[in-house]
Subunit: 151 residues, 2 copies
DNA sequence: GTGATTGCAAATTTTTTGCAAGATA
DNA sequence: TATCTTGCAAAAAATTTGCAATCAC
C-alpha cells in the first residue's frame, strides 16, 4: 500500500525558513502543521484544517500567499487538480501521485523503479527548444465501489 | 520532433456529435475548428481564436459549457495547467504531454514505448480501493533560452 | 526598533447558472 | 414544431493585491 511520505518536522521547517531568511511566524508554522497533516491540500483546505485544530486562525489570503511563496522557493510543490483549485504538496522529494478524480484528492506513490525507468528512457529524448525540469506521473483513479461502503 | 496529433476533422466531429444525439450547432463547430487549430486551449483562448478567424463569435460562457460538455462525453480531454485555468485537449488518444511552465502551453509527445512500458509496470501494482482509469505523464519544461530569440 | 508579514477588504480572474430568445433536426 | 442550445447578465468560486497594523528578530 502506498504510504504517504513524511513531511519535514516543524523544527526542520523552521530551519528551512531560516536558511531562506524567512521569519518563523505563527501563521507559517500553522500552515505547515496543517500541510503535514493533510499531505496535499488547497488553500481553503489548509484554512479549515488550521481552524479545526484550534489555536488561532489564518486568513485565506495569507494562506494563499504563504503557500505560493513556499512553493516558489521549492519548500512545497504545486499540483494541478481537476477541480480548478491549486493544490500544494508538502513533500518535494520526487514521487508519483494517485489522483482520485471523484474526491479530488492526491496520494503519494513511491516507485523508484518506475521513476528511474522513465528518467533513463527520457535521456534519449530531447525536445528541441525545451529544457526538461521535472517529470510528472500521475495515476488517474476512481475509488472502487464496494457494497456497504460508508461514504 | 514531437508532432501534434491530428484532430478529428469537422465531418468526423459532426458524426461524433450525432452519435451522442447532440446537434451540430454553429457554435460547437466553431469551437472544434478553434480547438483543432490550437490543440490544447482554455476557454478564453478558444474564444479569441474564434474571433480571430472571423465568422461570428461565441460567448465565453457558451464556450465553457461546450468544452466541458465535450470533455464529459470524452470527445475532448481535460488538462490541468499551473495557471489555474482548465485546458482542454482536442485529442483523446493516449499520449504524453510537454508542459511549458513559462507560457502555460502544452505540446503532444508520442512515445508508444514509454507509455507501454509504464502500463506494463503498472499491471504489477494494485492500489487498494482504487481503479486506475488513466495514466498521465507530463514533462515539465521551460523554453531553452537562446540569444537573439524573438519572443 | 525595523523591516518582514499578516489581516482585511476590495479587485481580478475563472467558471457556473438561470432563463428568455434562437436555432437545429 | 419541439427540443436542444446559446446569449446575456449576474452569481459563485478562486486567487491576487494594497495598505495599515502587527509581529519576529
Amino acid at each position: 500500500m502506498p504510504a504517504q511520505l513524511k513531511a519535514p518536522s516543524v523544527d526542520e521547517f523552521r530551519t528551512m525558513l531560516k536558511r531562506r531568511g524567512l521569519k518563523a511566524t505563527r501563521q507559517r508554522i500553522a500552515v505547515h502543521e496543517a500541510m503535514s497533516a493533510l499531505g496535499h491540500a488547497s488553500a481553503d483546505m489548509v484554512c479549515m484544517e488550521i481552524e479545526r485544530r484550534g489555536g488561532g486562525s489564518v486568513t485565506v489570503a495569507s494562506v494563499y500567499n504563504i503557500l505560493s511563496q513556499l512553493a516558489d522557493i521549492k519548500i512545497y510543490g504545486r499540483r494541478m487538480s481537476a477541480n480548478n483549485k491549486m493544490y500544494f504538496d508538502v513533500n518535494t522529494a520526487r514521487h508519483l501521485h494517485l489522483y482520485d478524480r471523484e474526491n479530488n484528492s492526491f496520494r503519494d506513490v513511491t516507485d523508484e523503479d518506475l521513476t528511474d525507468l522513465v528518467m533513463s528512457k527520457l535521456k534519449r529524448r530531447k525536445f528541441k527548444g525545451y529544457t526538461i525540469e521535472d517529470i510528472d506521473i500521475q495515476f488517474i483513479c476512481r475509488p472502487t465501489k464496494r457494497k456497504g461502503a460508508t461514504s
